[in-house]
């Protein structure tokens, strides 16, 4: 049984369908990267999985099975027990997710006391342990968030998410607001932590480069739908969906001789209107007539899949040719 099994999830904000019939599974210990641009629905997906959507955001249909239990129908009081102990979240800007009027120690203690109370001395040890784990000197435990740099605060929010050793962590753009050197540092840190703690994660980001480095598999999202899922290495070497191909070209190899950021002309579609055909068709360089009328359901087979008429064709050509 997969740790997380999202089935036909649709999330709406009023008449805007932000997540459209998304299905994906996450195995124990796996990091699934979710990549998309603003408005693609990637953050909404993360919030829906944890049921932290703010009104008017609402799950319209679908199931989110966590160890076989459907979180969508789970009572809020039962969900509260699972949050932090079994599922935790790291928000985009750690600076805003931390309580500004509580010391770092207090924030760790609050979480521990609320979910897994232990003695004072054990708690003190635990805080020191967690801070060391993210390479922060434990003497900072008695500082307030504003006394620390953005990178330190983000590392602290990662440590906070890990303190109760959850099985699943949702990372929502954990490195976006940070400088590139600090970003690199946090990504390296996360890789080490994962080998120690064996957590599973949904790693949501717009930065395909970072996601490809950290995730085992990558799901590319466009206009509320997954357009492609592949193991990271394969996605990098042989992207099937034209959107993935175009997105990859926006992240050139910094060491290559020629650097040319191509970009993708056009803008993402208006999600309040449901249009027939493929949502990417108006921006697609390989568009065909049927792309404008026939939509394609995304099917995940053995952890991979693509929703593109063109991809199906090239497969056929390969088989016959």
């Amino acid at each position: 049984m997969p740790l997380l099994d999202i089935q036909h999830l649709t999330v709406t904000y009023g008449n805007v369908q932000a997540v459209r019939d998304v299905s994906v599974t996450l195995e124990t210990g796996e990091i699934l990267g979710v990549v998309g641009e603003s408005g693609s629905g990637k953050s909404t997906l993360g919030y829906a999985v944890t049921k932290l959507l703010r009104p008017p955001g609402a799950i319209q249909s679908g199931r989110v099975l966590f160890e076989g239990t459907d979180l969508v129908s789970t009572l809020e009081s039962d969900l509260r027990k699972k949050r932090w102990t079994e599922i935790s979240v790291v928000m985009q800007s750690g600076m805003n997710a931390l309580n500004p009027v509580a010391t770092i120690r207090r924030q760790f203690e609050d979480a521990i006391i609320a979910h897994q109370p232990t003695g004072q001395s054990r708690m003190k040890e635990r805080v020191a342990e967690m801070l060391k784990m993210v390479n922060i000197d434990p003497r900072y435990a008695d500082n307030y968030p504003h006394e620390l740099s953005g990178g330190m605060k983000q590392r602290i929010s990662i440590a906070l998410a890990l303190v109760l050793e959850p099985k699943l962590i949702i990372f929502d753009e954990p490195t976006t607001a940070l400088d590139v050197v600090v970003q690199r540092f946090i990504v390296q840190n996360l890789k080490t932590l994962r080998s120690q703690y064996h957590f599973s994660a949904l790693f949501i980001s717009h930065d395909l480069g970072t996601v490809l480095e950290i995730a085992d598999r990558v799901a590319v999202m466009y206009a509320g739908k997954f357009v492609e899922i592949q193991p990271s290495g394969q996605l990098l070497r042989a992207p099937k969906h034209p959107y993935t191909q175009a997105l990859l070209q926006c992240f050139p190899d910094p060491r290559s001789d020629q650097i040319n950021i191509v970009g993708i002309p056009g803008t993402p579609p208006d999600l309040s209107v449901v249009q027939p055909g493929c949502a990417f068709a108006p921006r697609c360089s390989q568009v065909m007539t049927r792309c404008l009328t026939e939509s394609l359901a995304f099917v995940e087979v053995a952890g991979a899949g693509v929703a593109c008429h063109r991809a199906g064709l090239t497969e056929e050509v390969k088989q016959h040719g």
Partner: protein, 326 residues
Amino acid sequence: MDSILRLGKVSKTYSRKTNGHEQKIYAARRVSFELQTQHIMALVGESGSGKSTIAKLITGVEHADSGVIEFEGKTLSAWRRGHLAEYRRNVQMVFQDPYAALNPLNTVRYTISRPLVNYRKLHGESLHNEIQRLLEVVHLTPVNEFIDKLPFELSGGQLQRVVTARAVASNPKLIVADEPVSMLDVSIRAEILRLIEELRSKQGVTFLYITHDLISARMLADEIVVLYRGTVVETGNARAVAKNPLHPYTQLLLQSIPNPWATEEQPMALGILDRTSDDGGCVFRARCPYAMEVCHQGVPELTNAESDHLVACFLHHDATTQMAVQ
């Protein structure tokens, strides 16, 4: 070569009080560089490197503590004496956040008309025609679809085009673009970068492109200036600096860019990420994996390492002759 802008040993210090102690922040320390007419120069650095301070000093929003800024051979203080409006007309700015740079209550037409009315005294039909032309220049076409829109009706990329059209409206010679693409989606960035390139080649505008992104700097710019805590650590031909950086800080920046193409994990010497005191010595020494004795004693000056490539690092110096003790 024809230089349009020259900074000579420009310094700017801010001070703030922490726990009752006055603390000095060196936002710019003896920054010198020269920008050639119709070139694009990238100013690259992380947050706190002082790159936005330099933008403010050049556009005249802030005053330098010392040093000289020359635009078209005339110092900024000379421009300030009675010619400030002309200076502003010639030196325009594009900001990072297009959502914040435009008045939400003003239409595209009104926004772009302001510099045309104020600086170029256009009105009536000639004003309307010029607005139309500018929207075409920034590729907001068909023009009639955009001209009467309010900011909330446009996407981030479209808004940044409006901001750019406004900056170009006064026919400036120099545009300082402060992180013009970092708020935009990656798929949109290329178009704005291409627009900058086009304005340079077709309209002859010189650009100072401020960014934290070494890759886009390499793609767009002719020259790169790398800043670390207010100090120029490396400068030169864009390709040379961004592909074969000589300063350990620029090397760290390049290594930090996510690179899934790298065949193996590149081990990185990160050093201490926190700030250190500024009591002489090289600004980067606390984080530098190659820090030597001499790095603690003196400040390395920018010196030619190769033609078109200068670096301020003792690794690339004959230390005894180049050391400038503060």
